[in-house]
């Protein structure tokens, strides 16, 4: 299942109010920092939706 990140809405760590809140919230390692940007590791995602609920830019949705 995992999640999708809308690249237009996403703050891409640098412009995220919390410098990658989703990365910090996800304890499954399903959202990681890769080359200075946010990257999804679908096999780690547990569909808890914590990132969807808390993204300050509403950039994350269910895949």
């Amino acid at each position: 299942m995992a999640v999708n990140i809308d690249s237009d809405k996403c703050g891409h760590i640098q412009d995220c109010p919390v410098q990658g809140l989703c990365i910090k919230l996800c304890e499954q390692g399903a959202i990681i920092e890769e080359n200075g940007d946010v990257s999804i590791v679908p096999e780690n995602c547990d569909d808890c939706d914590l990132c969807i609920q808390n993204c300050p830019n509403q950039a994350i949705s269910k895949a």
């Binding site: 109010p17 919390v18 910090k24 919230l25 547990d46 808890c48 939706d49 914590l50 808390n54 300050p56």
Partner: protein
């Protein structure tokens, strides 16, 4: 923390104290002008974002005070001409409390240990063990070889031995002392001494009539400012010395559906925001112990799966005199 004010016929001021706020969202639920906003409570609870849990739009706030009376935790306070409406008998007030009965309290300190808000101040004065025992002890220093068996085995740590030379010219730097404020005349030293150098007599039983029964005194204080009336203290108290009146009665259930399932350890948002330490993750699912829950509803907002169903049936908010306020405030208990 914020303070906003407006001057008119009256001077009205709304104050918000973030340290009292639990992020339950009751204020935002009752605000008739949608001027209060609940922040990202999960990232705040996890320390990822530093900001107040609640913010206000001061342009739309009408300073009515509904939030101030609805907040069970006294985080919001409206004052009119310098007087808090919480002291005004025409306004509603919460009849919540957490009280220690000093007559009953044994000063065990368990409440202090379990309080999730660190709201209980506790101290006690224990008697000196030496006052509760009687006996005699004597060490024959001529016989003692300073082997240290007695000191190492003394359960009270009452024996101090020096038996290591401090220099080549001081090979016999030996000493042995018994601290009589610690010795309980148990006799372990005598029994372990290989040189039969210790004489000990315990007369505690023989003289028990003359030993005063100790009075243990102390103080247990619940700080109203930070207490959220969760009941941990009253539930753990072995002598029922604490009375807690919670703000709400009702229930909180976890109702899963096909697509909405508790993710337990992956998420634990409910556990992080709970001000009552009432939530545990057991076998991968969130379990709430209602004994400790104050039904504030913070976990309901935090749950990304939206599967926590809070049903409040009654509240301890009394003296609601206005019909319109009654209508709004009663929505908190589904009425």
């Amino acid at each position: 923390m914020f303070n906003i004010e407006r001057n008119g016929e009256e001077h009205r001021k709304l104050s918000y104290k973030d340290n009292k706020c639990v992020g339950c969202g009751i204020c935002t639920d009752v605000c008739p002008t949608s001027s209060l906003r609940l922040g990202p409570i999960v990232p705040i609870a996890r320390g990822l974002i530093e900001m107040d849990l609640v913010s206000v739009n001061q342009d739309s706030c009408v300073f009515c005070g509904l939030c101030s009376v609805a907040c069970p935790f006294d985080a919001l306070s409206l004052s009119i001409n310098g007087e808090s409406i919480k002291n005004n008998k025409n306004y509603p007030f919460w009849e919540t409390e957490s009280e220690v009965n000093d007559e009953e309290c044994m000063y065990c300190g368990k409440c202090h240990e379990v309080c999730p808000r660190d709201s209980i101040l506790f101290e006690r004065h224990l008697p000196n063990p030496a006052d509760l025992v009687r006996g005699e002890i004597e060490i024959n220093k001529d016989k003692c070889i300073y082997c240290s068996f007695c000191a190492d085995m003394c359960p009270a740590g009452a024996i101090t031995i020096k038996n290591i030379p401090t220099s080549t010219v001081d090979m016999l730097n030996n000493s042995i002392e018994v601290d009589l404020s610690k010795c309980i005349f148990c006799g372990v030293c005598k029994r372990v001494c290989p040189e039969n150098a210790i004489k000990q007599i315990c007369s505690t039983c023989m003289l028990r009539e003359e030993i005063e029964v100790p009075e243990i005194t102390g103080e247990t204080i619940i700080l109203e400012d930070s207490c959220v009336n969760c009941s941990w203290c009253s539930e753990i108290c072995p002598v029922d010395a604490i009375t807690v009146t919670k703000p709400f009665s009702g229930k909180l259930e976890l109702i899963e559906e096909e697509e909405k399932v508790c993710k337990g350890d992956s998420c634990h948002a409910c556990q992080d925001v709970c001000p009552c330490n009432a939530v545990s993750i057991v076998d991968g699912k969130s379990v709430t112990n209602l004994d400790f829950c104050n039904l504030c509803g913070a976990c309901v907002t935090a749950c990304p799966q939206d599967i926590r169903i809070l049903t409040r049936t009654d509240m301890k908010l009394n003296n609601i005199n206005s019909e319109s306020w009654s209508e709004i405030l009663n929505t908190l208990v589904g009425k």
